[in-house]
């Protein structure tokens, strides 16, 4: 094909006139009806997933609580040694949202002992479990925590925007399980692309990848419950989607680390293997629930 032909094709397209569709039907109304139904369904799915998470957290907490369920049998008393004050219903009436946030930050700070030097968990908003960031010398990353027996392992077929990570030269991540003192840690990597509206192909092309999520799961040997921790890395800006300044703000808000997962799987193993870690997650859940009740009363 010559350059002439290429140019001619352009001229040909330019010279073509396409009229309006004959008797065009209403396209917007049915689209709004369909889109509205899908939006409602999406909302319900989100609510359902959140409810499942709460149930899973509760089940995990009961299973791992000292002396509770089929627990691991570690420790005893109200909480592990050195843990911050326990969340109890008796203090609820006097607590405000700001106080709760302070309590939760205190719980997170108690995990500092098990982090590498210079790293800190922070809680920027309520519910705390949804707004935890990890800061360190390499940057900041949003941390998504979860507990339960059915931990996320691969992208659900219903979410075509998320895929199992295909190892590429651009993003040479590895995954797999390894044993630690009291359990097993598994590393999972998934890719996210920005264009999630359609597409079901595996992401073999690194240019399509926008986010990479590193997820570590921990399963104690003595329990069927498990814990997961996810950190996000922004691989590339979404130039077609918004102003680069917005992307900068998004990074700041969401804590996408540019350098990859801040906490290594080995450090996660150190953290997750502590009774304090499981205790803190349980406590954070309790405080978050209390904050939600407070907000609800305020709204009423």
């Amino acid at each position: 094909m010559s350059e002439h032909d290429t140019e001619d094709l352009r001229v040909l397209f330019d010279g073509v006139t396409i009229g309006d569709a004959p008797g065009s039907r209403d396209l917007v109304g049915p689209a709004v009806a369909w889109g509205g139904r899908r939006r409602r369904r999406d909302r319900w799915l989100t609510v359902g997933a959140a409810a499942s998470l709460v149930v899973a957290v509760a089940a995990g907490a009961v299973a791992l609580a000292p002396g509770g369920g089929s627990g691991s049998g570690r420790g005893g008393g109200a909480g592990p040694a050195g843990a911050p004050p326990t969340h109890t219903p008796s203090g609820r009436s006097a607590m405000g949202l700001r106080d709760i946030l302070g309590q939760e930050q205190g719980l997170l700070d108690s995990l500092g002992t098990y982090l590498p030097e210079g790293y800190r968990f922070s809680c920027s908003d309520l519910p705390c479990l949804a707004h935890v960031t990890l800061s360190g010398p390499q940057g900041t990353s949003l941390v998504e925590w979860g507990t339960g027996t059915d931990l996320f392992q691969a992208a659900p077929p219903s979410d075509p925007g998320e895929h199992d990570h295909q190892r590429t030269d651009a993003i040479p991540l590895t995954s797999g399980p390894f044993r630690v003192e009291h359990g097993t840690v598994t590393v999972w990597m998934t890719d996210d692309e920005a264009q999630v509206l359609y597409g079901s192909d595996l992401l073999a092309d690194p240019h399509q990848i926008v986010y990479v999520k590193a997820q570590y799961t921990y399963k104690p040997s003595a329990s069927s419950a498990g814990y997961r921790m996810m950190q996000s890395q922004l691989v590339q800006d979404i130039s077609w989607k918004s102003d680069p300044r917005d992307n900068a703000r998004l990074r700041e808000l969401m804590g996408f680390s540019q350098t990859g997962p801040l906490l290594s799987p080995n450090w996660f193993a150190v953290l997750a293997d502590q009774p304090t870690f499981q205790y803190v997650l349980d406590q954070l859940k309790g405080w978050d629930q209390q904050a939600a009740e407070l907000k609800q009363r305020g709204a009423a």
Partner: protein
Amino acid sequence: MTDEDEFRQFAASRQKQLLRSAYLLSGDWHSAEDLVQTAFGLLYRHWRRVSRVEYRDAYAKQVLYRCFLASRRRKGFATVPIDSVPEPAAAAAAQVDDGRLSALLEALSGLPERARAVVVLRYWEDYSVAQTADALGVSQGTVKSQTSRALELLRVRISGLLSDSRQD
């Protein structure tokens, strides 16, 4: 203005433009309308996010082209055209067509779906290679190879039209 009002306003203002692109992709008005309606549905579903996008036109086109490719992947479930039903598009096209549009549509229909999408984006929408790659979610190398392949096929099918346009 509500979410829905804002979307309806956006959709109404872009409908004709998107329909023309969809017509080139699908080859008939009925499929073009289906395609645009599907794209509108998806855009409305994600409107809260889409409404924050700076280049909404480009985003809407991207959704349209991806819907086209996705619908072709699922074409086993697509409806089969009924020969006995007259195609109003042909009459409508004839009103404004000097033969070029019909020939172009026929030539495009002979291209594989992705190649067709690449050609329409590159030569109808005037997208660059990079923009086309972004819109279709493929690499720039894929766009170049698809363009080259498509142009080879088109050269055979519409060489007469190409030389006509050269003379024009």
